[in-house]
């Protein structure tokens, strides 16, 4: 691995952790915001809306349930569209560099050329 590739990987890794930590923080804030509202403002959460047919608490609770898959979708989209292609390009750059790279303590075969992205899903186990 040359110095430039190492820096590319480090910055890509740092970006992934940044995105991951930001999204985790949003999930934490939403969830604990909800819990603390229940703990400290029960009258607000119990307030009836829409002609008394639902409460603020249930609407917010359903919203928290919706936020979890939405944040996940944001992350998966980012990772599929930006992170994966950059990683793939880096893999190619590393694999085409001669000679075979040696990573600290790892055998030289640690970084093989990955199979095409469609291949791993073709062979699915089915009873």
């Amino acid at each position: 691995v040359n110095e430039e590739q190492k820096q590319t990987l480090d910055s890509l890794a740092a970006r992934r952790w940044r995105v991951a930590i930001t999204l985790t923080a949003v999930m934490l804030a939403v969830y604990f915001g909800f819990i603390l509202l229940v703990a400290f403002d029960k009258p607000l959460m119990g307030r009836l809306i829409l002609g008394g047919r639902i409460s603020v608490g249930i609407v917010l609770g359903a919203a928290v349930i919706a936020v979890a898959p939405l944040l996940t979708a944001v992350y998966v989209r980012w990772a599929n569209r930006i992170y994966d292609p950059e990683l793939h390009a880096l893999r190619h750059a590393m694999a085409s560099a001669t000679p075979a790279p040696v990573v600290a303590g790892e055998p030289a075969a640690a970084l093989p050329i990955p199979p095409p992205t469609t291949a791993p899903f073709a062979k699915e186990a089915r009873p």
Binding site: T24, T72, N80
Partner: protein, 520 residues
């Protein structure tokens, strides 16, 4: 609202042997045993036994993850909690869901790339193998033990109530059938049992919710207002007594959120897919399925509250746990009741199988291969040890299930989550993110997290009063230990690492970064 008891007597066939229930259950067992036979022919290596040969697709693993996570306790328990206390049940559902995005963002991909069969692989990647493996295996087995006891006792109780068979025979059936799956079919069979079970549970719960909503013009708002009209004094749409102490609420929230990311049987599933990108997509599927499941459960709880009635639910043995089965009987007759009971039985079986396999992987892969044999155990020997460990764990599960009969084990699932959040999660996260993390830091963090969680639970009001029946005031008032034990595990891990730096561990981090992102 306290109407005379005789006015609430219900005609339910719950608790009597039910032909449909038994029929559906036998059908489930036949299908899953057939799948196990098919899987057994494909289980020749440890990679197949522990990780299904890493050939499971994203969608399949999404269903299997959901299957591992959606226990009978969350289906019957949360529907019951919602039926009796309305809004408060929603707080639990949300807690159980929000850990999943955390797994997606922080854990799934690096774990998949660093490890092979257990989460200890990832923790120990650049650290000294033996101490880390021993501590991680201890954490795994503690979580698995408490989770298993809760499942087995719940299985015995529920199946006695629903099928009318004796407690011990219910425990024996669950233990015996589960052993068949794991022993012969390993992870391949266990994965497919989870997928089938998740499909059945989601289908059954959704069908029931559709029947409920059909009574209210497919408008949930009408359902909610009917519940409010029926229980005007109880205010079912408003928060009740569940969250009275903010510290307890936040502590429980931490345990649920980060405990999910430290459950060994969940983490193990990420090795069943081919690569990190598939692992990522599989958690996304699981998150959607589990979120949907809890929304459906919320509808079922309100449906039971209105259509069955709180007095009726409180009058049957098993009380609120029977809210969903009773609702099925009211809406779909004995046949539908039987189907829901069979699904609950199948649910317990699948969860117990997943737990046993993860315990076996800790015993065989972490303790036998890496600690006793220093990573040099030949393939056939590892497989034999894994099967012996499976049988031992299966017998232990049956024994513990019978031993803890009639005991209050409800706190044990909460304890398992607290241990997972304190013992497993901090060390896993630190090892994957912090260059200066050391072997000593990892061991200290895992031991401190697990021990603190167990001790604080033992002296909490729950165990002090409800389990030990002691009259004196409990030494601490905290119901869930995570707010103390999880931060403590992080602090101990960091301090122990800083006090005695480990040059090799820090140097190995560069290789770990490459591996974590690029894969093997």
């Amino acid at each position: 609202v306290n109407p005379p008891v005789n006015a609430t007597k219900v005609a339910t066939s719950l608790g009597h042997p039910n032909a449909t229930a038994i029929g559906f259950f036998i059908l489930f067992v036949l299908v899953t045993v057939y799948v196990t036979r098919w899987a057994a022919r494909r289980t020749r290596t440890t990679h197949e036994f522990f990780a299904a040969g890493s050939r499971i697709s994203a969608r399949q693993n999404g269903f299997a993850l959901a299957g591992d996570y959606m226990s009978a306790a969350s289906f019957l328990g949360i529907a019951g909690l919602v039926s009796m206390s309305g809004f408060d049940g929603l707080i639990y559902s949300i807690g159980f869901l929000v850990g999943w995005p955390v797994i997606t963002f922080l854990i799934a991909e690096p774990l998949r790339n660093l490890g092979k069969y257990t989460f200890a692989d990832a923790v120990a990647y650049r650290l000294k193998q033996r101490p880390v493996r021993i501590a991680a295996a201890a954490g795994t087995l503690t979580v698995v033990a408490f989770y298993l006891i809760a499942q087995m006792v719940g299985a015995g109780d529920l199946i006695t109530l629903m099928f009318g068979i004796p407690y011990w025979s219910a425990v024996l059936i669950v233990g015996g059938v589960m052993l068949l799956y794991v022993l012969f079919g390993g992870m391949i069979a266990t994965t497919w049992v989870q997928i089938i079970k998740a499909g059945l549970l989601l289908t059954g719960a959704t069908a029931l919710a559709v029947l409920v909503l059909a009574r209210f013009g497919f408008n949930p708002l009408e359902l909610f207002s009917a519940a409010r009209a029926k229980y005007p004094d109880a205010a079912p749409l408003a928060p009740g007594k569940l969250v009275s102490n903010p510290v307890d609420a936040v502590s429980l929230g931490l345990a649920l959120m980060f405990g999910t990311a430290g459950l060994p049987h969940i983490l193990m599933r990420f090795y069943t897919v081919p690569d990190a990108a598939t692992a990522r997509r599989s958690v996304a599927y699981a998150t959607v399925l589990i979120g949907f499941f809890y929304l459906v459960t919320f509808v079922l709880g309100f449906g039971a509250s209105v259509l069955v009635g709180r007095e009726v639910i409180a009058s049957v043995p098993g009380k609120s746990n029977m809210a969903a089965p009773l609702l099925a009987e009211v809406l779909g007759g004995t046949g539908f009741l039987g189907f829901i009971c069979a699904v609950a039985f199948a649910t317990i079986l699948a969860v117990v199988a997943g737990l046993t396999l993860s315990g076996a992987s800790a015993l065989s892969h972490d303790l036998w291969n890496h600690v006793v044999r220093k990573g040099e155990s030949p393939e056939h020997e590892q497989l034999r040890v894994a099967r012996i460990a499976t049988v031992a764990l299966g017998l232990a599960a049956i024994g513990l299930g019978i031993l803890f009969k009639g005991q209050n084990v409800a706190f044990m699932v909460g304890l398992a989550f607290a241990i997972a959040a304190s013992g497993n999660f901090p060390a896993l996260l630190l090892s994957m993110t912090w260059r200066r993390f050391t072997t000593r830091g990892a061991v200290a963090s895992m031991v401190t997290g697990t021990a603190t969680a167990v001790i604080l639970i033992a002296i909490s009001p729950t165990v002090w009063h409800d389990v030990l029946k002691l009259k004196s005031t409990a030494p601490i008032s905290l119901k869930n230990p995570a707010i103390i034990s999880m931060p403590l595990a992080f602090v101990v891990g960091v301090v122990a690492s800083l006090l005695a730096p480990e040059r090799k561990a820090a140097e190995g981090f560069t290789g770990a970064i490459t591996r974590m992102h690029m894969g093997a």
